[in-house]
Amino acid sequence: MIEAVLFWIGAFLFILGGVFDLLAAIGMIRFPNFYVRLHAATIGAIYGAVLPLIGISLMALGIPELPGRYAVAGASFITAIILLVVAPVGSHVLAYAAHKSKSVPWSPVVDALEKDEEK
């Protein structure tokens, strides 16, 4: 019984992750420039990758006949946690580099960082 529940919760998270990945991809196409697209990329990284990985881990626990299911579940879960820790560092470094090199033309409502750097 509990295995079936784990499997279906995992499957739900997995499919939800796919939906968010699709939305993130649409956002990547529709958004006008790099800085705004970063937000769509975040959707792909958190609910598009961390959530389905947790889903896979629950699904693996829910299939008793799967060989090495604890390895699949454990590896997925640890990968999800590590992704949660390192994903923001990547986003931050990309944004930082783009802003420092001034390589992205955009028209922000306010750019407090540029104002402070000019001082």
Partner: protein, 161 residues
Amino acid sequence: MIKYIVVGLLVFIVYITFAGSLSTYTVMTGLLVSTVLSIMSAKYLVVDEKKLFDLKRLLYAVYYFVKYMTIIEIKAHMDVVKRIINMDIDPGIVKVPVNVKSRYARLLVMGSITNTPGTVVVDEKNNYFYVNWIKVTTFEPVEARRIISEEFEYYAYKIFE
């Protein structure tokens, strides 16, 4: 000494969870890897040993993880998904004051802000985060902090300071 044991134990748990088995070979390799890693890294990773024994901090961390992954992230995701559909965006970089002092707490606040769709930390200077915000609703640093990072700082303070 205690910090070496705690870091080693954490590495060992991560190793065993990742390997997903309790065979003699895995346990022996895990012990070896965790011992070497804890000797190499514990003195850099743990600053204050006393905080390791504070169970309240651990409970706050678990509660924050669950709350962050469910309530906070769902709100932020749905907000940005709505903006993908109706294209209601006013991007900009605002200044957000950050009050927590320790490096871990700042990393947690920075990670939480960046992991929420709609906000990305671009730079950090003089106790201010410069946050790239998809829909700038205020130019005031204090007001922006209230909207963006006040909740994250509350938990970062409880967990790490």
